[in-house]
C-alpha cells in the first residue's frame, strides 16, 4: 500500500466511563490506522467498544467518559489534545460520521434540506444564495430522486433508506477526508443495505474519502473493506488485511467469529456459536479479556502484559499463543 503517513492513527487509546454502578473500563490500548482512500472495517460483538472508539475519534463522547491515555492523530493533529474549538472546525469538514437507525438520527421537526443547509452554512463559506444549490447537488449525489421536492420534506415522510441517504449527504456535504459509518445499514432491509454500502463505496472512490465502517456483521465487511480491525471487550484483538484475516485468523476470537458468520456455501449446521458472553468491564479483568471464553487458554495467559505482536508488516494480534 502507499507509504505516505496514515490519515488517521489511533494509538494506545484507553478510556473509562464513571457510571452509577462503578467505573467501566471501556477501551484499553486501542490502536489502528486508516490511510487516505482506504476502507477499514471495525468488527466485534455488541458492547466490544466499536462505537465508543468512533465517538472518541469524533470527540462526541458522553460527559461521563474519561480518556485515560492514548492519542488520535488525524493528519498530524492529536484530536484528543486539541481544543474543543479546533475539534469543532474538523468535525463535519475534515471528518464526519453517519449513524444507525437513520430516522431517529435526523431532527424530526426540521426539513431535510434545512438540516443539510445548516452544515453547509457552518463549514463551506458560501454566500447564502449558493447554499441551496449546494444542498440540491449533494442530495442528487446521494441518488435521492426529485431533490427539489425532497428539500422540503421532513424525516418522518421518508423511508429508512432515504433517511440514510440524507444522513450521508449531511456527512459528505463538505467533502471530508474521513467518513466514519457506525452500523449504517443495521435495521434496513437487505436490498437497501446493499444500495447504501455501494453508494458509500462509490462516493469514497470518487473523492478518495477514507471510510471507517463499524459493524457486528463480518459477512458485510468481507468484500467491502481493505483491512479489518477485530475488537473484543475494549481490546483490538487482531487487525489485518481482509484477505489475510479470513485466510488465516491468528486470534482464537477472530477464528470463532468467522466460524459463526454465514458464508455462501455454509449450511446452518456448520455455524458454531461463540461460547460464553462478553466480560463485565466493571470488574477486575485479566490482561487478556478473552481468557474466560478462550479454548486455547494456558496458565501463563493471565500474566501481565498482554503481548501485542506484529505477525507480519500489516498484521497485528494480541495473544500470547497466536495460531
Amino acid at each position: 500500500m502507499s507509504t505516505d503517513p496514515p490519515l488517521l492513527a489511533v494509538e494506545g487509546l484507553s478510556l473509562d466511563f464513571r457510571t452509577r454502578d462503578g467505573v467501566v473500563r471501556a477501551l484499553d490500548e486501542v490502536s489502528f490506522t486508516v490511510r487516505r482512500g482506504e476502507t477499514v472495517g471495525i468488527v466485534g460483538e455488541t458492547g466490544s467498544g466499536k462505537s465508543v472508539t468512533a465517538f472518541a475519534i469524533m470527540g462526541i463522547l458522553a460527559p461521563a467518559a474519561r480518556v485515560r491515555a492514548g492519542r488520535v492523530l488525524f493528519g498530524g493533529l492529536d484530536l484528543l489534545a486539541a481544543s474543543e474549538a479546533q475539534r469543532l472546525e474538523y468535525r463535519g469538514r475534515e471528518l464526519s460520521m453517519i449513524f444507525q437507525n437513520p430516522r431517529t438520527a435526523l431532527n424530526p421537526i426540521r426539513t431535510v434540506g434545512r438540516q443539510i443547509a445548516d452544515v453547509v452554512l457552518r463549514h463551506a463559506n458560501l454566500p447564502r444564495a449558493r447554499i441551496r444549490d449546494r444542498v440540491l447537488e449533494t442530495l442528487a449525489r446521494v441518488q435521492i430522486p426529485d431533490p427539489e421536492r425532497r428539500y422540503q420534506a421532513y424525516p418522518f415522510e421518508l423511508s429508512g433508506g432515504m433517511c440514510q441517504r440524507v444522513m450521508i449527504a449531511l456527512a459528505l456535504a463538505c467533502a471530508p477526508s474521513l467518513l466514519i459509518a457506525d452500523e449504517p445499514t443495521t435495521g434496513l432491509d437487505v436490498t437497501t443495505q446493499a444500495e447504501i454500502l455501494d453508494l458509500l463505496a462509490e462516493l469514497a472512490a470518487q473523492s478518495r474519502t477514507a471510510t471507517l465502517l463499524i459493524t457486528h456483521d463480518l459477512g458485510l465487511v468481507a468484500e467491502r473493506c481493505d483491512r479489518l480491525v477485530v475488537m473484543h471487550a475494549g481490546h483490538v484483538v487482531e487487525s489485518a488485511p481482509t484477505r489475510d484475516l479470513f485466510a488465516a485468523p491468528r486470534h482464537p476470537y477472530t477464528a470463532r467469529l468467522i466460524a459463526a458468520t454465514p458464508r455462501p456455501r455454509a449450511k446452518l449446521g456448520d455455524l458454531l456459536p461463540i461460547p460464553g458472553s462478553a466480560p463485565d468491564l466493571r470488574r477486575e479483568l485479566p490482561p487478556c479479556r478473552y481468557l474466560a471464553r478462550c479454548e486455547r487458554a494456558r496458565g501463563t495467559c493471565d500474566e501481565e502484559p498482554l503481548p501485542r505482536t506484529r505477525v507480519s508488516s500489516d498484521h497485528l494480534v494480541a495473544c500470547r499463543f497466536p495460531r
Binding site: L88, E89, R91, F99, L106, I109, E157, A171
Partner: protein, 339 residues
C-alpha cells in the same frame, strides 16, 4: 390537519368534561349554605318578604326544574344576575376577565423568562451546582404559599421600601384606563400610545405577576430540564454535534425547539393551575379579576357568579388546549401533516 379539524377534535374531546362541569357546578352551587333570598331580603326582612324574593329568584321550584331553566338560560348565554354586584354575570365576567387574563399571561411570561433558561442551564450541566441551585430555587418558588408571598411582597416593596405602587388594582387612582381594545391595559395603552397609562399599569402588574409567576416556575423549569436532558441524549443531537454545528445552534435550534414540545403541553396545565391560584393573588392585590369576583360571590353564597366563573374557566381551558395544539403544530410539523 386544517385548523377547523383540529378545533373540532379538541372540542369533541372536551365536550364530556364540559357537560360534567355544567352538572357539577349546578349541584355544588345549590348545596352552598345560606339562602340568598334571606340574604337579599335585607336586615329588617319578615319571613313573608323573604318568601317573596325566593319566588322572584325562582328558588322555590324543584331542582330538576331549576336545572332545566338553568341550561336553557345557559344556551341563551344568560349566566344569570349577580346579587352582590347587581349586574348580569355575563357583563361582570366580560368586564373582569381581561384583568385576570392579563395578570395570568404576564405571570406566565415572567415564569417562562426565568424558568426556561434555568431549565436549560440545569440540563446542560446535570449534577452541577447550577442544576441543584435551579432545582432548589424553583422548588422554593412553588412551595411558597401564594397568599403569604403576596402579603410579604406588598409589605416589603410597597409599605417599607415604597418601590412598588399601592396595591390598588390595575391602575393607581389618578390614571384613567386606556381606551379598551382587547381589555389588556398593557396592550391597549401601547396601541393608544398612552405612555403614562402603559407605565402605570405595568407598575401595578409587577408585584402580582411575580407572586403568581413564582408559583409557575417549578413545573416549567423541571419539565424543561427533563425534556432538554432527553433531547440532548437523542440521536439527532448527536448527529448535529458530529456534523460540527456550532454549540449554540445545537442547543437552541436543534435541542431546545424539540424540548419545547412537552413544555408547551405542560403550559396548558400550568395556565389552568394559575387561574385557580389567581383567586388568592386577586384577593391580596385588590385585582378586579374574575377570581376575586367568584370568591366574594362564593362567600356571599351568591350562586350565579360562581357558576358563571367556573363555566368560563372550563371553556377557557378548552380554548387554551386548542391554542396549545396550534402552537404545538407550529413547532412540530408531524402534527400538522400526519394529523
Amino acid at each position: 390537519m386544517t385548523f377547523a379539524k383540529l378545533a373540532g377534535r379538541r372540542l369533541a374531546l372536551a365536550l364530556p368534561g364540559l357537560v360534567g362541569v355544567v352538572v357539577v357546578t349546578f349541584l355544588l352551587n345549590r348545596a352552598l349554605p345560606g339562602d340568598p333570598a334571606a340574604f337579599f331580603a335585607g336586615p329588617a326582612a319578615t319571613p313573608q318578604a323573604i318568601a317573596e324574593i325566593r319566588i322572584k329568584l325562582g328558588l322555590d321550584r324543584s331542582l330538576p326544574q331549576q336545572f332545566i331553566l338553568y341550561v336553557r338560560d345557559l344556551a341563551r348565554g344568560d349566566l344569570g344576575k349577580s346579587l352582590t354586584t347587581g349586574q348580569s354575570v355575563r357583563a361582570d365576567l366580560l368586564a373582569r376577565l381581561p384583568a385576570s387574563l392579563e395578570l395570568t399571561l404576564c405571570s406566565l411570561a415572567l415564569a417562562l423568562a426565568v424558568a426556561l433558561p434555568l431549565g436549560i442551564l440545569a440540563a446542560t450541566r446535570p449534577g452541577s451546582w447550577v442544576d441543584h441551585a435551579a432545582r432548589v430555587v424553583t422548588t422554593a418558588g412553588v412551595s411558597l404559599p401564594i397568599f403569604f408571598t403576596g402579603l410579604l411582597l406588598v409589605y416589603v416593596f410597597y409599605y417599607l421600601l415604597g418601590w412598588a405602587p399601592a396595591p390598588l388594582g390595575r391602575l393607581d387612582a389618578f390614571t384613567s384606563p386606556p381606551p379598551p381594545v382587547i381589555g389588556f391595559y398593557l396592550v391597549d395603552s401601547a396601541l393608544a400610545g398612552d405612555g403614562v397609562a402603559f407605565r402605570a399599569s405595568l407598575h401595578q402588574l409587577v408585584l402580582p405577576a411575580v407572586t403568581l409567576g413564582l408559583f409557575a416556575m417549578a413545573p416549567i423549569a423541571r419539565m424543561t430540564r427533563a425534556a432538554m436532558l432527553g433531547v440532548l441524549a437523542s440521536d439527532f443531537v448527536r448527529t448535529a454535534r458530529a456534523a460540527g454545528l456550532a454549540p449554540r445552534t445545537v442547543l437552541f435550534t436543534y435541542a431546545l425547539r424539540n424540548a419545547l414540545l412537552p413544555v408547551v403541553t405542560l403550559l396548558g396545565m400550568v395556565f389552568s393551575f394559575l387561574l385557580g391560584a389567581n383567586v388568592l393573588v386577586e384577593k391580596v392585590f385588590a385585582w378586579p379579576g374574575v377570581g376575586s369576583y367568584a370568591l366574594e360571590a362564593l362567600i356571599a353564597s351568591d350562586y350565579a357568579p360562581v357558576q358563571g366563573f367556573v363555566l368560563t374557566m372550563a371553556s377557557l381551558y378548552v380554548l387554551l388546549n386548542l391554542a396549545i395544539d396550534i402552537l404545538y403544530g407550529l413547532i412540530d410539523a408531524r402534527v400538522r401533516i400526519e394529523g
